[in-house]
Amino acid sequence: MTGLAMPLSDRRTFLKGLGVLGAATLVPGCATSSKSPGSGSAPTGQVALQSNLSSEQAKAAMEKLVAAYNKTGGSQVKLNTVASEIFRTQLPTYLTSANPPDVYTWYAGSVADSYAKKDLLLDVSSVWDSMGNYSKAMQTLSTSSAGQKIFVPTSYYWWGMFYRKSNFAKWGVTPPKTWDEFVAVCKTIQGKGIPPIGIGLGDTPWVASAWFDYLNIRINGAPFHRQLLAGQGNFTDPKVKAVFTKWREVLPYFDPKGKSFPFQEATSALLAGKTGMFLIGTFFADSAPKDALDDIDFFQFPIIDPAVPVAEEAPTDGYFASKKVQDVDGVKKFLSWLATAEAQEIYVQNSSGTAIPANPDGKSADTPLVQKGKAMIEGAAEITQFFNRDSSDALQPTADAALTKFLDKPDQIDKILKDWQAAAEKVFKA
């Protein structure tokens, strides 16, 4: 294990350092606009699309998408795919450079807004004129705090408690709906000698945030959750502590091995029947062998307090454009096209297929799993995204630290929450 894990974690920490540096370029003093001579002439009719979708299938889907657009005439789009890890750390550098790429793949909500606040994003309100059929939630996610539309959502996915149908049948359990039923299911599975709840936190500690998010929106509701993540709440609030009290009820059912391997290995464990259930986003299906996919199903995170309006996590992906684009009309035309059902279907059909088009008229993959996920999201009273997307990439590490510590030493919850609040305050003040 260590053979590959060691250089990997080295790379991670190194890239993390790079990310900090990338972020530093956002500091106004550093972000001097260096003008490059010789690049002054506006590229006529070319739109540069910087994509972080570097995995084989997603990359191929993007190539098909761009090829389809280029056939429609207008400005030609040039796709440039870079490794997602590089993209994440270099995005601030791209946006602040003198001659930045035009359009970027990225996430909706406060992460996009954090760039809009620094005045780096193109106002795409006119693109939204043709997007009247998009849901209210999508509109809100794409609006900056200054009230401009800065983002064009194209797809979303959902989180759920995934399991193997055959294993649930073998263990004689049915998907629970309420918290009490859920605890009962955990007990039964543990009785068979299987750790009921899988998790993978080594190298991917952010997976634990899904539990925090869901418990918080089930117990305290989505508005409280959003305020807390926006810095208007306090992590030492008794309401936050209630989240962890609930979490402790099921802590004995977590796979003890889950702290040591990343979520991809946790997926293998679930599929091999070494764990019972796994709270994860649909992207995990990419790491499942094809023959196992038909056997996979999910259930909604159990309801804890029926009085709280049901909220679900649906991270939304899409595009934004740099403020410095030269071919503004070409970029807006491209973004308008990306917002159409037709374009989103091209992407969904050619990628791994668990993403759902953001355009309500777009058809998602026809599998029962996707239909069920789509119905769950559409039936939700409130939508949240995910911890980092609802707050910022800077707040995520504070959650990782706090939640990992909680899983290790649940007795120290008061101290952990105090430390978390202190760390979060630093982030919000920065």
């Binding site: 053979g3 260096s34 870079v82 550098t93 293998s268 790491s287 062998p289």
Partner: protein, 271 residues
């Protein structure tokens, strides 16, 4: 006898420990995705396939990435060693005023952690209009290598006997001729050792390539390997195969210059 056996057993175990991760990567590179996904990375192989190498080569465009890497590495090595040897020649063989200061100044640059220069370099490269070009990457590598290479070559050239140079001067050779016909041939062991070392350093660099290059098709092989990782899910078998391919040039250089590698470590060790 027992001591010798014990020594070999113990050292064999230590070597195995050292080689094990590499062997493990090679084993993974021959496993199919479904095998890795179903049984986990740590399990014994249940499948055997060459398709991982094919997808690393074609889908990840590793061929182009390798070409890019060589387009950067070879000129950068030649240029930095060429410039460093000229500088070292001047500093070592002629009493240039403040030569100690110059040398220390050049070495000082190497003591700075390169990370703090990331933003200045990326802005500067953009300012002069070479952002996102391989030329910028070569320039960065030459600039960063120069100080250290000059320092090492200076130490080596300084110890060459003075009489050889004097004899050449008496025979009518000027500084240029002495450099090319006398000093450079004598410095060959040091140049070979540095060449082999700098080749691996530049070839394996990741930091600078992602700092000055933005386009996927211009990326050298190290960031291209990173590109095999998906946003969430990574095909570790393909990454392992890509890693094995990417290691070939450096291993080839190592095998070819093996004895200089060891020699290189001892340069300047004994005065």
């Amino acid at each position: 006898m027992i001591r010798r056996v014990g020594y070999h057993v113990a050292m064999g175990l230590v070597s195995f420990l050292w080689v094990a991760p590499i062997l493990w990567v090679i084993v993974i590179s021959f496993r199919s995705f479904d095998d890795v996904a179903a049984n986990g990375l740590g399990s014994l192989p249940h499948s055997f396939t060459f398709s991982t190498y094919k997808s690393a080569w074609e889908d990840a465009d590793e061929f182009r990435a390798l070409i890019n890497s060589l387009l950067v590495t070879i000129p950068a090595v030649l240029l930095s060693l060429g410039l460093a040897s000229v500088a070292a020649y001047g500093l070592a063989r002629y009493s240039i005023p403040f030569r100690r200061t110059i040398l220390l100044l050049m070495l000082m640059g190497n003591l700075l952690p390169p990370q703090i220069l990331l933003i200045p370099i990326s802005r500067f490269v953009e300012l002069i209009g070479y952002y996102d070009t391989l030329i910028a990457l070569i320039a960065v590598h030459v600039g960063f290598g120069l100080g250290f290479y000059t320092f090492v070559l200076h130490g080596f050239m300084r110890d060459l006997p003075r009489e050889i140079q004097e004899a050449a001067t008496i025979d009518g050779a000027g500084p240029g001729k002495i450099y090319s016909a006398v000093i450079l041939p004598l410095t060959r062991p040091a140049l070979a050792a540095l060449g082999a070392l700098s080749f691996t350093w530049i070839f394996n660099d990741l930091l600078w390539s992602i700092t000055v290059i933005r386009s996927g098709e211009k990326m050298p092989v190290t960031p291209a390997l990173l590109g095999l990782q998906g946003l969430f899910v990574s095909s570790w078998n393909v990454i392992a195969a890509g890693t094995v391919i990417a290691a070939v040039p450096t291993v080839a250089v190592f095998l070819r210059f093996q004895k200089h590698f060891v020699g290189g470590l001892a340069i300047g060790a004994v005065k």
